[in-house]
């Protein structure tokens, strides 16, 4: 599903400038056919989570090579590989670091046998009241202020709730962000500025308890940050207004700021803030109310950078350039061609072992920046499956939850979808169906399930209370697990923001894990040097069917490969599925390329 972007071109060598905007899967196929014309490649410009890529689809392949860029899709493919019994070669890169792992059901651990670090989240009050790092200011600017001004008005937003307190009525704060019908945009911008950077900080300062052991923030008003008279930017603005394409609108351009690496002064940040806000209202008014932050949206990045910098000024936090701010706001993963080349080579080596069923030779390989025991490329023997992994060994989970207060909807969203990574779940209590998703449901079933979502657990038709065992199943992933429900009255708002705690899925014992290749380092070493889950732009999956294809390239063979692109490594993004059979003196092969994969990264402020 992924398409080619300019920033891919420094490493995804199958793509050129002229391909920007096109499907990765399709362009990758054409590029490969140019130097290997006789293989069969099938591109799928689709999301790997689409229902058509079900267990039967996966079963046609011999090996799957993942080159995904997000945890969600990786977990999904892991489950389909387990369910279809197809080996998976996983990989990822970040900067100079990279890794390749092999997952074969029953023989090595699955991708989910070890918990993956959750995306970094921050306590709400750090973001809304007591930021200490630049990233806190970015999260505030992006997830609160930007969302408040330009996003969906119905979405919950903590901006009012905590940054202004009881002294201003909630009605009043609601009004502040509203653009009044006859209000000049410049005026509106200044009003927002003074409210969020000035007034709100003053209100926060009144709560002396907060600042006892902290540095007090300084309110910033437009009158301090900018010259007394509204700056005359009209000439420039007119120029900017002549460019027709709304996506090319830029506050930097109209203010004459050129270098994204420069640090802006408070005044420059304030000008960019007002200019960007103004441009949204003047040039992109139609989008307001439905905008989400996108790192490739220049104006959004400018707005967020300036807002974060002004807030950083208030709190005495060092300012950052637009280039740096964009990296933080967009969770941009560093990526270079060389690491990708190395990892792509290692993926192929592992895939070949899988096809030859050379189980003893399987390795997890880490590509390091600094040598460890003289090694820059470090192979480690794969681990055995984790016996307590709920994904590959049916271990029940335990959920502590307030069954009198939490609704089925909370359980579905926060546990089944967010934690268990299921996309088409079915929830059962004994034989009673509580919830189900699917296209083939009857109307009354849909209504019934919708009604259930809004009921608290203990009031469901088949009540869920302490001691209940729920069965949760995803029919597409063919994953089923049991959850023991434990009732608990109270939860810590900051530490347990979900209001529920899932447990029972523990990492395997350290002793079990420390098997390493002869004189290789211990696994714990390896995982310290290399992030377990480099979320990168880049990856691939391949599925191969016949081992002989690899017998040293001497035989001609027919290969069947399918590539789902979302990946980096061989410059394709996605999954590559390979089928192959040996046929004397003929060489057709079949490759399918599927550009994938939903790149929405979920991040919350909690």
């Amino acid at each position: 599903m992924d398409t080619i972007e300019v920033s891919n071109l420094n490493r995804q060598f199958l793509f050129r400038q002229k391909h920007v905007g096109q499907s990765k899967a399709k362009v990758a196929r054409e590029a490969v056919l140019k130097f290997k014309p006789h293989i069969k490649i099938t591109p799928y410009h689709a999301n790997v989570k689409d229902p058509e890529f079900n267990v039967d689809f996966f079963k046609q392949f011999n090996v799957v090579l993942n080159g995904l860029d997000n945890l969600d899709a990786r977990r999904h493919v892991n489950r389909l590989c387990l369910a279809s019994g197809v080996p998976l070669v996983e990989s990822g890169t970040t900067g100079f670091l990279g890794q390749v792992t092999v997952h074969v059901k029953g023989k090595t651990e699955c991708y989910e046998c070890q918990p993956k670090p959750a995306p970094k989240t921050y306590p709400v009050c750090t973001i809304t009241s007591t930021p200490t790092k630049f990233v806190h200011c970015i999260v505030w600017a992006k997830d609160l202020l930007f969302a408040k001004l330009f996003g969906n008005k119905n979405q919950e937003n903590d901006l009012n709730v905590r940054s202004t307190d009881a002294s201003s009525s909630s009605e009043h704060t609601e009004d502040v962000f509203e653009h009044r019908v006859d209000e000049d945009v410049e005026q509106y911008g200044r009003r927002i500025f003074d409210h969020v950077f000035g007034y709100n900080i003053e209100v926060a300062l009144r709560n002396e308890e907060t600042w006892k052991n902290r540095n007090k923030p300084r309110p910033v008003y437009t009158r301090d940050a900018l010259p007394p008279r509204p700056i005359e930017q009209n000439g420039n603005k007119d120029k900017a207004s002549n460019t027709g394409d709304p996506s090319s609108v830029s506050a930097m351009a109209s203010l004459g700021l050129k270098n994204p690496q420069d640090l802006w002064s408070l005044r420059e940040n304030s000008e960019v803030f007002l200019e960007a806000l103004g441009l949204f209202f003047l040039k992109r008014e139609k989008e307001i109310g439905q905008l989400g932050f996108d790192k490739d949206d220049q104006l959004a990045v400018e707005f967020v950078t300036s807002a974060a910098n002004i807030r950083a000024t208030s709190f005495g936090i060092p300012l950052h350039s637009l280039f740096e701010a964009k990296g933080i706001a967009g969770n941009i993963v560093h990526a270079v061609a060389t690491t990708n080349a190395i990892i792509a080579g290692l993926i192929v080596l592992e895939a070949m072992k899988v096809l030859q069923n050379d189980v003893k030779s399987y390795r997890m390989t880490y590509c390091l920046e600094h040598p460890s025991r003289k090694m820059l490329l470090m192979p480690v023997e794969p681990f055995e499956p984790n016996k307590s992994c709920y994904v590959c060994s049916e271990t029940p989970l335990t959920l502590e939850i307030n069954t009198h207060r939490s609704k089925l909807r909370d359980f579905v969203e926060k546990i089944v979808k967010a934690k268990l990574g299921m996309s088409l779940p079915l929830i059962m209590h004994g034989v009673a169906l509580l919830y189900e998703v699917g296209d083939d449901l009857e109307e009354d079933e849909v209504a019934n399930y919708a009604a259930n979502l809004d009921k608290v657990l203990s009031e469901l038709p088949s009540p869920v209370t302490g001691g209940t065992i729920l069965t949760v199943e995803d029919l597409q992933q063919e994953l089923k697990c049991s959850i023991n429900i434990k009732h608990r009255e109270e939860f810590d708002e900051e530490k347990e923001p979900d209001g529920m705690v899932l447990s029972g899925w523990t990492p395997a014992l350290a002793t079990e894990k420390n098997k390493t290749s002869d004189n290789g380092p211990s696994s714990s070493n390896a995982s310290q040097t290399v992030p377990l889950e480099p979320e990168d732009d880049d990856e691939i999956e391949i599925i191969l069917k016949d081992p002989e294809i690899l017998s040293a390239g001497k035989k001609r063979k027919s290969t069947d490969i399918s590539v789902a692109a979302d990946s980096e490594i061989s410059s394709v993004t996605g999954a590559m599925l390979i089928k192959s059979k040996v046929e004397a003196d003929d060489s057709h092969s079949d490759v399918m390329v599927d550009g994938n994969l939903d790149t929405n990264k979920k991040k919350r402020v909690q």
């Binding site: 420094n10 130097f35 061609a337 090694m375 820059l376």
Partner: protein
């Protein structure tokens, strides 16, 4: 950050965004002004060229006058497998065309002639020289010419045999700074030439030195004694190679078991290149050249050895020089 030279263009900033986040604007600027020469365009060097062209070096000169054969293209993804296109053209010419297409901001050109005949004058204009598929004699002489240049020319040689690969690095006297816990430390490395490195007595090397290092030396020496073309060896040469191994080991007081028969056999038997190993070695080589040019990161000293059989990518310091 010290400013040097002009700023990157908007196009450069957009295309190189993800790597500028790795090595910074200054490093990118230095890369874009660097001049690199490669000779011997087989799979590993092709991978290397792809990597540094994408990374945005200033210019790349290609040297390989051989006409294209099917064998030469076994691990070459640059050249279309279309005889109408390839007929009558040299490997360098064909690769040049597609490399230009990879990144229009890099100047890619062909440098005709025999590698052995390029002189010091030629090399001293360059920042890095990468050679492959040449005789031991040429390797030593090109390395020596690079060393004679008044300004440093980083020298690399790379060889892949079967599923094994070796990179040699000579940065002469190399100083760079790195950050460690907020502190900037100055580092100095001294490299021996290829000739001096391979002359380091084997018995002075640690017991656990990679067996591949010794095996590569035996085959290299064999090719030289037999006056073979580079890589023109086969499984049939094994008896004579084993004999040479015995002589070399006796002369250097090393146990023959340090160079297993099986390893030599593998290295001799390989007829075609092995693309995944080309990608790995070409990736490591690309990274090393980028390090040396940009002054960012610890460069490896002075051999890198990879064997797909055990999957280890090992750095060996083979020198008499203590840093």
């Amino acid at each position: 950050m010290g400013k040097e030279g002009e700023e990157l263009t908007e196009q450069e900033t957009a295309i190189y965004d993800r790597q500028i986040r790795v090595w910074g604007v200054d490093a990118q600027r230095r890369l874009s002004k660097s001049h690199i020469f490669v000779s011997g365009l087989k799979g590993t060097v092709i991978e290397f060229c792809k990597n540094i062209v994408l990374a945005g070096v200033g210019s790349l000169m290609l040297n390989d006058d051989r006409l294209v054969t099917e064998e030469l293209l076994s691990a070459n993804f640059l050249v279309p497998s279309d005889e109408n296109v390839t007929r009558g053209k040299s490997l360098a010419e064909l690769c040049c065309e597609s490399l230009k297409d990879f990144n229009p901001m890099v100047s890619v050109s062909v440098e005709k002639g025999d590698l052995a005949n390029f002189d010091v004058e030629f090399f001293q204009k360059l920042d890095a020289v990468v050679i492959s598929c040449c005789s031991l004699l040429t390797k030593k002489s090109v390395n020596a010419k690079c060393r004679k240049s008044p300004r440093r020319v980083a020298f690399y040689s790379v060889e892949c045999r079967d599923s094994c690969g070796e990179i040699f690095v000579d940065l002469q006297n190399y100083s760079y700074s790195k950050k460690k816990n907020e502190e900037t430390i100055e580092c100095h490395l001294q490299y021996p030439s290829f000739e001096d490195a391979i002359a380091v007595p084997w018995r002075s090397l640690p017991m656990r030195t990679s067996k591949l290092y010794f095996a590569m030396r035996v085959i290299e020496r064999f090719e030289e004694l037999e006056k073979r073309n580079p890589q023109d060896v086969s499984a049939g040469d094994l008896p004579n190679v084993l004999k040479l191994r015995k002589e070399l080991c006796e002369a250097r007081c090393m146990n023959e078991s340090q160079i297993p028969d099986l390893l030599l056999q593998r290295l001799l038997a390989a007829r075609v290149e092995f693309p995944p190993v080309c990608a790995i070695i070409g990736g490591v080589l690309g990274q090393e050249v980028i390090k040396a040019i940009s002054g960012k990161g610890d460069p490896l000293k002075n051999f890198f050895l990879f064997d797909a059989m055990d999957g280890k990518g090992i750095i060996e310091d083979i020198s008499n020089i203590n840093n």
